[in-house]
C-alpha cells in the first residue's frame, strides 16, 4: 500500500530542497555548480536540464531497480545500470535542447554532456533506493533535489554576478572568492538543519 500522506511527502520535499540540499549540504554536483554559475540565465537553464534528467532518471531507475535488479538478484549492477540510464537521458536532453534552444545549448556548452557524470544525479537515484522510497516519494524526492540544485546554482550565480562588479581584493578575484561564497552559502544552509 502506498503511503501518500501529504505531510510525509512535504517533509521529503522540504528536506531535499533545504535541509539536505544536494549541493550545499550533501556536496554533490559541485562541478556544474562552480562551472555554470557565471550568469543567472545559464544557471537557470542548467537547473532546468538537471531537473529534467533527475526526474526522469529517478522514475526509470526506480523501475529498473524494482522490476529488473531486485527480482533477478542483480543489486550489484546498480551503479552501471543507473549510469546507463542517466547517460542515455542526458543524450536525449542534449538533442532536445539543441533543437529547441540553440542559445541555451551554446551557453551550457560542455557542461551539458557533463551531467552524465554529475554525481548529484547518480547520488539521487541511489539515495532513492537506499531510503526505500515508493514511486511517489521517489518523484517528490527527485523534484525536491532538482529544485534544491536549481535554487543553489541560481542563487550562487546571482551572487557571482554581483561579485563581478564588487571591489574584491586582487588575490581573491575570480575563482577564490567564488569558492569562499560557496562555503558561506553552505554554512547558511546548515541553518535549515533543524527544520524537518
Amino acid at each position: 500500500m502506498l503511503d501518500l500522506s501529504v505531510s510525509s511527502l512535504f517533509a521529503i520535499l522540504v528536506s531535499a530542497i533545504l535541509v539536505n540540499n544536494f549541493v550545499l549540504s550533501r556536496f554533490l554536483g559541485i562541478c556544474p555548480f562552480l562551472g555554470v554559475s557565471k550568469q543567472v540565465e545559464t544557471a537557470f537553464g542548467m537547473g532546468m536540464a538537471v531537473t529534467f534528467v533527475m526526474s526522469l532518471a529517478s522514475i526509470i531507475t526506480f523501475v529498473v531497480q524494482n522490476y529488473i535488479l531486485n527480482p533477478l538478484g542483480l543489486q550489484y549492477m546498480q551503479t552501471i545500470m543507473f549510469i546507463l540510464v542517466i547517460a542515455s537521458l542526458v543524450q536525449l536532453v542534449e538533442m532536445v535542447i539543441q533543437k529547441t534552444s540553440p542559445a541555451l545549448y551554446q551557453s551550457l556548452g560542455v557542461f551539458l554532456p557533463l551531467i552524465t557524470t554529475n554525481c548529484a544525479v547518480l547520488g539521487l537515484t541511489i539515495l532513492n533506493i537506499q531510503e526505500n522510497y515508493n514511486i511517489v516519494e521517489t518523484i517528490v524526492h527527485a523534484i525536491g533535489a532538482a529544485v534544491g540544485f536549481s535554487l543553489a546554482i541560481v542563487l550562487f550565480a546571482a551572487i557571482r554576478e554581483k561579485l563581478e562588479i564588487a571591489n574584491v581584493p586582487e588575490p581573491f578575484k575570480g575563482f577564490p572568492i567564488a569558492l569562499l561564497t560557496a562555503g558561506l552559502m553552505s554554512l547558511a544552509f546548515l541553518g535549515f538543519s533543524g527544520l524537518v
Binding site: 552501471i80 540510464v85 538533442m95
Partner: protein
C-alpha cells in the same frame, strides 16, 4: 556456478542498452538539427581534445568560428601544422602556417654566470621576487629561476636547473604560451622548433654594464650582425635579434660571439653532401655558396670542403637536380 548468474546480467544490461540505443537513434532523427556541414568537416579535422588552447570553449566552437571566419585556420596550437593544413583544405584557403613554435627561455645566465645583488629569502615565486627591486639577479632582464613558469606549465615541460634557471623541453612543449604570459621578466619567447641558433639575452643595457653583471650577456658588439652571411641578424636597443625566417642555422654567429650569448651547438651543424650520380656538374652550387666551400669547375667533379661548409643548405636549395643532401656531422 549457475549459468543464470551470467545470463541475467548480460541480458538485462544488454537489453536496456539496446532499448536506450534504439530510443536515442529515433530521437536523433526526430530532433535532428541541420548543422552547417562545413562546421562538421572542420570539426572532424581538429584534434577533438576540447582543451581550449585556441581561446574557444571547445573544438566545435572553434570550428564554428573558423567557418564564420572569425578565427583563422591555424588557430589550433595543439594540432599544429598538419591540423592547420587540414582545416585550410576544408575551408578552401591556403594555410599560411610556419612550423610549430616552442617556448624558449631567452636567458642563459644561471647563478654561476650572472652575479646576484643580494640573498633573496622571500616567497619562492618570480612574480613576488621581481616586485622586490627586480629580483636578486643583478641583471634586470634575466630569468630569476623561481619556477613561476614551471607551475604554470600544464604539461611539465619546464624545469629549473641546479643552477637556478628555467629550461623548456621543446619535445614536451604544446605551444600554449601560458609561460610566456606568466613570466614577469618577459624572458620566454616562442621560437620555431627547428631553430637551433638563438640569441639568449634580453638585456638592453650598454655593453660595459652587461659585462659587469653577466658572463653570457649580449654586449652589443654587433660582431654577429657583420658575420652573418644572410643578413639575418638585426640590432636594436643594444641587443641583437635573429630573423628566424632568414636564419639558416649556419652557426657562424655562435662561433663569433665573444660572450657566448648566442646559443647553438656547433656539433649539430649540418653539412652538405653531393650525391655524385645525380650531380650534373653545373657549378650552380659553388657559385651560390656564401663561404666558397664547394670546389670544382663546370664539368669537373664537385666536392664539398667539410671544414669550410657551414651547413646553411643554400646549395641544396639552388641545386636543379636535388643532388645535394644536408646531413648530420658525425
Amino acid at each position: 556456478m549457475n549459468i543464470s548468474d551470467i545470463i541475467y546480467p548480460v541480458v538485462s544490461l544488454g537489453g536496456l542498452g539496446l532499448i536506450f540505443g534504439g530510443g536515442l537513434a529515433f530521437a536523433s532523427q526526430k530532433f535532428s538539427v541541420k548543422l552547417d556541414p562545413l562546421v562538421q568537416e572542420v570539426n572532424d579535422a581538429l584534434p577533438g581534445l576540447n582543451c581550449g588552447a585556441c581561446g574557444y570553449p571547445g573544438c566545435s566552437s572553434f570550428a564554428k568560428a573558423v567557418v564564420e571566419e572569425v578565427a583563422s585556420v591555424d588557430g589550433c596550437p595543439v594540432g599544429g601544422k598538419s591540423t592547420a593544413e587540414a582545416v585550410a583544405d576544408v575551408m578552401g584557403v591556403e594555410a599560411n602556417v610556419g612550423e610549430r613554435q616552442v617556448a624558449k627561455v631567452i636567458c642563459n645566465a644561471d647563478n654561476k654566470k650572472a652575479k646576484e645583488d643580494f640573498d633573496y629569502q622571500g616567497i619562492i615565486d618570480c612574480k613576488a621576487a621581481s616586485k622586490f627591486n627586480g629580483g636578486s639577479k643583478s641583471c634586470n632582464f634575466g630569468c630569476l629561476g623561481l619556477a613561476t613558469c614551471v607551475r604554470e606549465c600544464p604539461v611539465d615541460a619546464i624545469h629549473i636547473t641546479d643552477n637556478r634557471i628555467a629550461k623548456v623541453d621543446p619535445d614536451l612543449c604544446i605551444s600554449c604560451e601560458k609561460c610566456v604570459k606568466v613570466c614577469p621578466k618577459d624572458v620566454i619567447d616562442m621560437v620555431p622548433e627547428s631553430q637551433e641558433v638563438v640569441i639568449t639575452c634580453k638585456n638592453e643595457e650598454k655593453g660595459k654594464v652587461v659585462r659587469q653583471k653577466c658572463d653570457v650577456g649580449c654586449i652589443g658588439c654587433q660582431i654577429c650582425v657583420k658575420a652573418c652571411p644572410f643578413d639575418a641578424i638585426d640590432f636594436e636597443n643594444n641587443l641583437a635579434f635573429i630573423d628566424y625566417d632568414k636564419c639558416t642555422n649556419c652557426h657562424v654567429c655562435v662561433e663569433k660571439c665573444p660572450t657566448q650569448a648566442i646559443e647553438g651547438d656547433i656539433n649539430k651543424r649540418k653539412k652538405a653532401e653531393i650525391i655524385q650520380n645525380k650531380c650534373i656538374k653545373c657549378n650552380i652550387c659553388a657559385k651560390a655558396c656564401p663561404v666558397d666551400a664547394i670546389e670544382g669547375e663546370v664539368k669537373e667533379k664537385h666536392l664539398v670542403l667539410e671544414d669550410k661548409c657551414i651547413g646553411c643548405s643554400i646549395c641544396a636549395e639552388k641545386c636543379p637536380k636535388d643532388a645535394i643532401e644536408m646531413k648530420k656531422r658525425k
